[in-house]
């Protein structure tokens, strides 16, 4: 998107404004369910009201700049690496949620991220990631006795 002299409406900027407006609405809706319990306390509602009004006003402000088109320029975007990294994070989350431990997921996350940054050695990186995870597990899980999410791999050690 290049800014032309006649200044086009910035669609992304409008979307941001709408999201802010929705957030303002959510905060307001959530606030309406609260009760004031203590007769002396200002109550839990005041701050959400301020935040909600603030977000709504800022939605208008962002909307105006979107209409004026005076948002900064943006360069084109390569989605592949983003999908790779977010995919790695998603796999890690799913594996932990289903009790497969954190080591497998961490290794995959490591390999996925390094692929996203242009390396073409997925399996080597998988091993490096696994080594890193093992090191972390021994340091935190065994030495400091923190309870890291454990699965089949962790139980070997």
């Amino acid at each position: 998107m290049t800014s032309s002299p006649q200044r086009r409406i910035d669609v992304a900027g409008l979307v941001i404004a709408i999201i802010l407006l929705v957030l303002a609405g959510v905060v307001w809706w959530d606030m309406s369910k609260l009760q004031i319990l203590s007769p002396y306390d200002l109550g839990p509602k005041v701050m959400p009201v301020i935040v909600s009004i603030g977000l709504a006003v800022l939605a208008i402000g962002n909307g105006i700049s979107a209409f004026r088109g005076d948002l900064p320029e943006r360069e084109s975007l390569d989605w592949t690496p983003i999908v790779l990294i977010l995919g790695g994070l998603a796999i890690l989350i799913v594996l932990i949620a289903f009790g497969w431990g954190f080591m497998i997921g961490t290794a995959i996350l490591f390999a996925a991220t390094s692929t996203a940054f242009g390396r073409r050695a997925f399996f080597v990186d998988l091993l490096i990631g696994a080594g890193l995870a093992l090191f972390v597990y021994l340091l935190l899980g065994k030495l400091l006795t923190l309870s890291l999410p454990a699965g089949p791999l962790e139980n070997l050690f």
Binding site: L37, P39, Y40, L146
Partner: protein, 323 residues
């Protein structure tokens, strides 16, 4: 007579059988203790101390501590009830605070679903005022509260916690409207203590340990502890003995998952009984300054049920729980 003798015989047999079972089972007992809180807090310290006492005294072969922090224990108990059903080696540390937290968080999982095992420690609540306060006794504080509850500001822990409940119970016992108390929750013990020392509030309420060194140094005046009337001493007067009828303790306990067999329950109760008597556990209690309030099995189950009913009533009266 015969019947009595028969009963006696039966129970003696049962005891012998259980004892035999426990000694053999205990040797392989591999316990898992969940602290439904982040490492470092009170429940975590209790879990890790249990681990220490159980393994060092040889009551259990191993005891593994896991932390499941979040929402006053709501997340931990949900995991215990849903994922550990019928697991006779799993224990969870909990405390009085959890009773209130589950109610205020509207937790779908309740303590009734767990298997109560034993209460381990208890700490009584202390009410203090700044050293230069005109209030000298618990009775005077009660009178001030009765005259105008708004003017008596309390500093303590988070809303709906044991400090808040104790303050509400005190107001009720004093004949004041508990919904009208001016209770100001603080996030950390240090912050509340600073507000009391700085004379920002009328009174402070929290576990005795929070205030101990300030009381000894003469910076705070102790009005009393929420102990039973006959347990008061000159150093630590009982509030109940001063005519304000309130008794409450912040206890810590262990529960097991639902669905465990009677034998499994018995084994866990016996392991706790042994641990409570062990020299290792007694040494830890002394070192940490924890008061021993050990009861196990059905006695504890009864206490747990009573505490739940009372807490629900108090929290409903201050509006935190809808009946």
């Amino acid at each position: 007579m015969t019947q009595f003798r028969k009963g006696l015989w039966r129970s003696a047999l049962a005891v012998a059988a259980v004892a035999g079972f426990v000694t053999s089972a205990a040797a392989q007992m591999e316990l898992k203790i969940m602290a439904p809180a982040a490492p470092g807090g009170g429940w975590d310290q209790t879990a890790r101390s249990m681990q220490q006492a159980l393994t060092q005294s040889g009551i259990a072969k191993s005891a593994q501590v896991t932390n499941v922090p979040g929402a006053g224990g709501s997340i931990g108990i949900a995991q215990l009830v849903n994922n550990s059903k019928g697991d006779g080696n799993q224990l969870m540390v909990m405390g009085y605070v959890m009773v209130g937290a589950l109610l205020t968080n509207k937790s779908p999982v309740t303590l009734e679903q767990t298997t109560p095992i034993a209460r381990l420690t208890a700490e009584y609540e202390a009410i203090v005022v700044p050293a230069d306060s005109p209030i000298k006794t618990a009775k005077e504080l009660a009178d001030a509260l009765k005259a105008d509850p708004a003017k008596v500001t309390w500093a303590g822990g988070s809303a709906g916690g044991v400090d808040h409940i104790a303050a509400a119970l005190f107001a009720k016992a004093a004949g004041a409207d508990p919904t009208k108390i001016n209770y100001i929750p603080f996030s950390g013990g240090g912050e509340a203590l600073a507000a009391i020392l700085g004379g920002k509030v009328t009174a402070g309420i929290s576990g005795y340990g929070e205030f101990e060194s300030q009381i000894k140094a003469g910076k705070l005046r102790l009005l009393g502890l929420t102990t039973p009337a006959n347990q008061g001493t000159t150093d630590k007067p009982s509030i109940k003995a001063q005519g304000v009828d309130i008794e409450i303790a912040n206890w810590r306990a262990v529960v097991a998952p639902p669905g465990i067999s009677a034998d499994q329950k018995k084994a866990l109760v016996d392991a706790m009984d042994k641990m409570a008597k062990s020299a290792e556990w007694q040494a830890i209690l002394k070192q940490k300054g924890w008061e021993d309030s050990y009861v196990s099995g059905d006695v504890f189950a009864k206490i747990l049920a009573d505490e739940q009913a009372r807490t629900k009533e108090v929290l409903t009266s201050v509006g935190l729980v809808k009946s």
